[in-house]
Amino acid sequence: MKARHEVEQHTNEVVTGADVLIDALVDEEVDTLFGYPGGAVLPIYDAIYRSQASFKHVLSRHEQGSIHAAEGYARVTGKPGVVLATSGPGATNLITGITDAMMDSLPLVVFTGQVANSVIGTDAFQEADVLGITTPITKYNYQVKNVSDIPKTVKEAFHIATSGRPGPVVIDIPKNISSTVELDQLEEEFSLPGYQPTTQPNPLQIVKLADALKNAKRPLILAGAGVTFAEASDQLKEFAEKYDIPVTNTLLGLGSFPGSHSLSLGMAGMHGTYTANMAIYECDLLINIGARFDDRLTGNLKHFAPKAKVAHIDIDPAEIGKNVPTDIPVVADAKETLQALLNTSIEKPDHDEWQDELQANKTNYPLWHDRSNELISPQWLLEQIFNESNGEAIVTTDVGQHQMWAAQYYQFDKPNRWVTSGGLGTMGFGFPAAIGAQFGAPDDLVVSVVGDGGFQMTFQELSILKERNLPVKVIILNNEALGMVRQWQESFYDERYSESIFSSQPDFVKLAESYGVRGLKVDKEEDVVEMLQDVFAYDGPVVVDCRVVQQTSVYPMIAPGKGIHEMIGVTK
């Protein structure tokens, strides 16, 4: 318990539940709040207006923009993204983003307004059962019942969102709570006896893993986003180098191990490299660090790592054994586990034969693509984006072909630079996520690689670029189609292109310009490099409409239902 906070400093002498909330956010060192006002959050917006709060509020043009921006911010900074939206439609517009964050374990704290307590349950104007709706898509959720609970609830929510396996937490605040004039003593302390994530590895499991490593002839590390969340990239690099173990990444794990490292095999999974997938097929010890054996990674489970002893390091015990039977489970933080392994003396094994085999695969089966068409080859374009940004950009994407090409051709050497919607596969994610990423990393080059389909789902946030002169570079891979849908229709539905080709498109240059943002169009490969140099050097936002080949597919590929060793399109 503590007496009323420094709220007396507010310009207005009235202190409401909303003021208490703002103070709680300041206590959590929130620097950016992504939000959109409405009836049920009027008291909170009034408190923001009245307070000299140290954080900035970013006004989106659709709540989906707010929540994806918060996700991008969280991915880049490692800090929780904070969102505020009104009741009813404001809250339901957040649902896609909350689910996306749940699937990709992003820490978010989301505040939603709610109708006053006296009318909850009466189908009041702009009432929605936010607790009911968000229960399956949040790590935890609350509805605040008393003003005095606000500080405690906010503290608890930030703790839950950021500890253990991160995830989104929703706090629903009825309007009568935010507008109540505060009189009570505030509750500060929380206790969560049912929530104590295990971070230290069991020493016996470390011994087992060390032993397995000693005896392994063909070990392989599969590094997921858990490595990034645990800030364990340095330990991973040291461990892989010390024991000469090749490393492959999941889609979301890209960057947790340097892509340019000689031990890196690139991404594994449906559109991973042949080398990485065959390494999973052939390895005799698979050490999964912070990945969840998602179906897009494993392909047909029957053929996944069939020769391997599987070790799985995960902070979430429920992930272990969920999809792939595990021989050596380690429930712990990735960094603590890698540190424990580094502190264990393990006889240095000889993997020369294994390394030679992988090296031969790398040389013989590199990524390939065609460049015969008159329009721009999208894969080549991604290579140029990588080259011209010196591999140092923060890259955000939606889902689909452009996402896979970005994952394949943009090599990440550092963590927290790759912002993509992996688990949920959300169209419209990439552009607002780039806005959040730029707020989180104001001095970095942020490139949003999006498709023409996805960009049209959330482009209204161009307003923010103008408003804040946010130098996000949007590169639209415009193939006038839903590329991945088109690709699957070509491959698996006998070229019946049902509703996947756009017959009408906006003029993206004019669209950008109408928002006061610089717009460019490029349709010839010879103009690409110069354009990119110009765009990356430009101090301000740019939208580039890149006309790319439509009739091209993401390869190599594990067809649905097939095993990880049955890739198609491995060579031209």
């Binding site: 607790l131 009911g132 229960t135 399956p136 790590k139 935890y140 959720n141 609350y142 509805q143 839950i160 969560l192 006896p193 049912g194 929530y195 295990t198 069991n202 016996l204 499991q205 979430d316 015990p317 429920a318 272990i320 054994g321 969920k322 039977p325 489970p329 380690v330 429930v331």
Partner: protein, 172 residues
């Protein structure tokens, strides 16, 4: 295979919804569920009877329950020495001499008649699910008008035989 799982949970808003929602989302089939206060204030006890297909899904079940922030402890007590009871209320058509016949049937089950009307009588039976089921089967020919069950509630006996081992301890 049917498993009896108990969970102690913090008595916070929406906890039952959270748990049943999770079970539904992950396609677990709840046979019965009973919830009530425990010996500790603010802590509730839940008993689930859940049909799972194999050990892997049983392991997932207990882990997903444990993962819930309000859940304090989860135990699969199926293979332990336990006391397990459910209560059923059975309304049967019956008048005249049928009544005494029914009385004769329920006596060995130590069930009792707790309400009588002109055309029906209501029987209360308490016991393990198979016992309750057996009585229901016997009463069916008399015409069951209404039936309601509480679901199983259960905990460990005061003393466990030594050879019983923890089946699904996965905390490492």
């Amino acid at each position: 295979m049917k498993r009896i799982i108990t969970a102690t949970v913090q008595n916070r808003g929406g906890v039952l919804n959270r748990i049943t929602g999770m079970l539904h989302k992950r396609q677990f089939n709840i046979e019965s569920i009973s919830v009530g206060a425990s010996e500790t204030e603010g802590v509730s006890k839940m008993t689930f009877v859940i049909d799972v297909s194999d050990n892997q899904s049983l392991e997932q079940l207990t882990k997903q329950l444990n993962k819930q922030i309000d859940v304090l402890k989860v135990s699969d007590i199926t293979d332990k020495a336990i006391v397990a009871r459910e209560l059923a209320l059975i309304k049967v058509t019956g008048s005249g001499q049928l009544r005494s016949e029914i009385q004769g049937i329920i006596a060995p089950f130590r069930a009792s008649i707790i309400d009588v009307s002109k055309e029906s009588l209501t029987i209360q039976v308490t016991g393990k699910p198979d016992k309750v089921e057996a009585l229901i089967t016997l009463l069916k020919p008399y015409g069951i008008k209404e039936l309601t069950k509480t679901g199983v509630t259960s905990f460990l006996r005061g003393q466990q035989p030594k050879q019983v081992t923890e089946l699904n301890s996965y905390s490492i």
